[in-house]
């Protein structure tokens, strides 16, 4: 089913989505960090972070550079291990899993990297077909159908034989998003999906993410530094400040009594 694409529909979908959601309860946490301490050598990034991300909601992680936003995504994906604490993904503590165990958990995850992280010597088609070829027994025809299907959903056509280096920034992001979704994950992690894009592309990607969340109920954890889109699409915001983390619905945080938080959220306007 094609997703909305024209300007008016984008605006409606975004606004309409945020108002319709309810605030999640603790028992609905799909992913949570419990007392996590993460340091790179001498440099401590997360001190004793506990937070949760609700099932089916869009959560946005905000913070200054070096505050540990991308670190949280990498911890959830099991790409790095914390010095202390637990990272629970759909009921499993990924800090305790071996690489093989992690491969299992990652089936439920899709990650959209900041630079796309597509294999630069493979075509767009081969990049998307790779996990299907490696891990399923689908026939070439079935694989082609699934690849073309997901590409159509993200609005990319006629790019099968292009190499990632030949794609524009927005298109690259969308292809990378398609790859993140091709295994039908239940949790989508996005690392700065809007960075380096022009305002039109930003709105497009935002509408895409919101649409996917509404259609498939995928839990989304998005790291971003773009305040306007955050205010529009987030159900909850996790703001990482110098010595503390603040969590809550975006509007309430912006209008709240905490001055530092309000300032941060107003900076982008």
């Amino acid at each position: 089913m094609p997703l909305v694409r024209n300007e008016a529909e984008i605006a409606t979908a975004a606004r309409g989505g945020s108002e319709a959601r309810t605030w999640p309860g603790a028992e609905n946490l799909h992913v949570s960090l419990q007392n996590v301490r993460m340091a790179y050598g001498e440099r401590s990034v997360l001190k004793a972070l506990s937070c949760g991300f609700s099932r089916g909601r869009i959560s946005v992680i905000l913070g200054g550079s070096g505050s540990g936003k991308s670190t949280i995504l990498r911890l959830i994906g099991g790409l790095i291990h914390p010095q202390a604490g637990a990272v629970v993904v759909d009921g499993q503590d990924v800090t305790r899993l071996s690489e093989r165990g992690l491969f299992g958990v990652r089936r439920k995850l899709g990650m959209l990297f900041q630079g796309g992280a597509l294999l630069d010597s493979y075509t767009v088609f081969d990049n998307l077909a790779l996990p299907l070829r490696e891990q399923t027994r689908m026939s070439p025809g079935e694989i082609a159908d699934q690849v073309h299907g997901i590409l159509k959903e993200v609005g990319v056509t006629d790019a099968d034989d292009l190499l990632p280096g030949q794609l524009s920034g927005g298109m690259l992001r969308r292809v990378a998003l398609a790859r993140a979704l091709i295994r039908k994950p239940v949790i989508l992690l996005c690392d700065e999906p809007f960075s380096g894009l022009d305002p039109v592309s930003i709105k497009r990607i935002e509408a895409l993410l919101v649409g996917i969340n509404q259609q498939y109920g995928i839990t989304m954890i998005v790291v971003s530094h773009h305040i306007p889109s955050t205010m529009r699409m987030a159900d909850r915001v996790l703001l990482l400040l110098a010595n503390r983390a603040v969590e809550g619905p975006p509007e309430r945080l912006r209008e709240g009594a905490d001055r530092e938080v309000a300032e941060f959220l107003n900076e982008g306007q």
Binding site: R74, G77, E99, R106, R107, A117, L119, L130, P131
Partner: protein, 258 residues
């Protein structure tokens, strides 16, 4: 003083840990190579990148080394009136030592550094992390075809180097110095024995292939994820690879009892 000793201890532990990591890495490559699924397309692509693209440098250097051996050898042998042994001199030098060692050094510099740079840049652009998030083992998909190709390519390139070297010696000894062509070839044939010489040469080439393949891929895989890190890793491959090849050459020569 105590601080310096502590530093030394720290450094040594660091080196040992590094060796341990490399051994574990080698084991995972070995496992990836022998377990299915097999990836012929990736392997063939690597054979092209590592082998075919190294042909020019191997042929040119092989010819040059052979010609120099011919020239130097002829002048030296002339003093003892032993010009007819030129073939033996060129052949044995190439087959026992120069063939495997010089080939390995050239391959380390060209193909080894290219491999490190390629894997390193994949680390820097998060491509390997991307694969991990798709539950695909990057060692299996990216690293093992490269390592395996290096092992296969080394003996092949060594043989081509040696044949070019023999021809280079021929060009000088027969073409330039006017020696007898039949004598040149006969001299090689009588002095070179398969079991003592050619077998040793192949063994060396194989071992060098394993070592260089391991070092090049490991350095790329563990490089820091930025441009500086990739550059440092590439340099390290060439330096470490060259040193290890020469050390291994000594060990193998001594063990083979030549």
């Amino acid at each position: 003083m105590a601080n310096a000793i502590a530093q030394l201890g720290n450094r040594s532990l660091h080196v040992v840990r590094g060796l341990g990591n490399m051994a574990a890495f080698a084991a995972s490559i070995g496992l990836a190579v022998v377990t299915p699924p097999v990836r012929p397309e990736a392997f063939v692509r690597e054979l092209y990148k590592l082998g075919v693209l190294s042909l020019v440098i191997i042929v040119v250097c092989g010819l040059s080394v052979g010609m120099v051996l011919g020239l130097q050898g002829y002048h030296t042998l002339e003093r003892f009136g032993a010009e007819q042994s030129l073939g033996a001199l060129v052949g044995l030098s190439l087959i026992r030592e120069l063939g495997p060692v010089v080939t390995a050094l050239l391959v380390t510099g060209r193909a080894g550094s290219a491999t490190t740079a390629e894997i390193g840049s994949m680390v820097a652009t998060e491509q390997l992390d991307g694969l991990r998030m798709l539950s695909i083992d990057p060692v299996r998909l990216v690293v093992s075809p490269k390592a395996l190709a290096m092992i296969v390519v080394m003996p092949l390139l060594t043989a081509i180097f040696i044949v070019c070297g023999l021809y280079g010696g021929y060009l000088v000894g027969v073409g330039l110095m006017g020696g007898d062509p039949g004598l040149y070839m006969a001299s090689i044939r009588t002095s070179v024995d398969f079991y003592n010489d050619v077998e040793a040469c192949l063994l060396k080439a194989g071992v060098f292939g394993v070592l260089v393949g391991l070092i090049a891929t490991y350095r790329g895989y563990t490089s820091a994820p930025n441009a500086e890190g990739v550059s440092a890793a590439t340099t390290s491959t060439v330096v470490m690879g060259s040193v290890v090849v020469l050390l291994a050459d000594y060990v193998l020569t001594a063990l083979w009892g030549v």
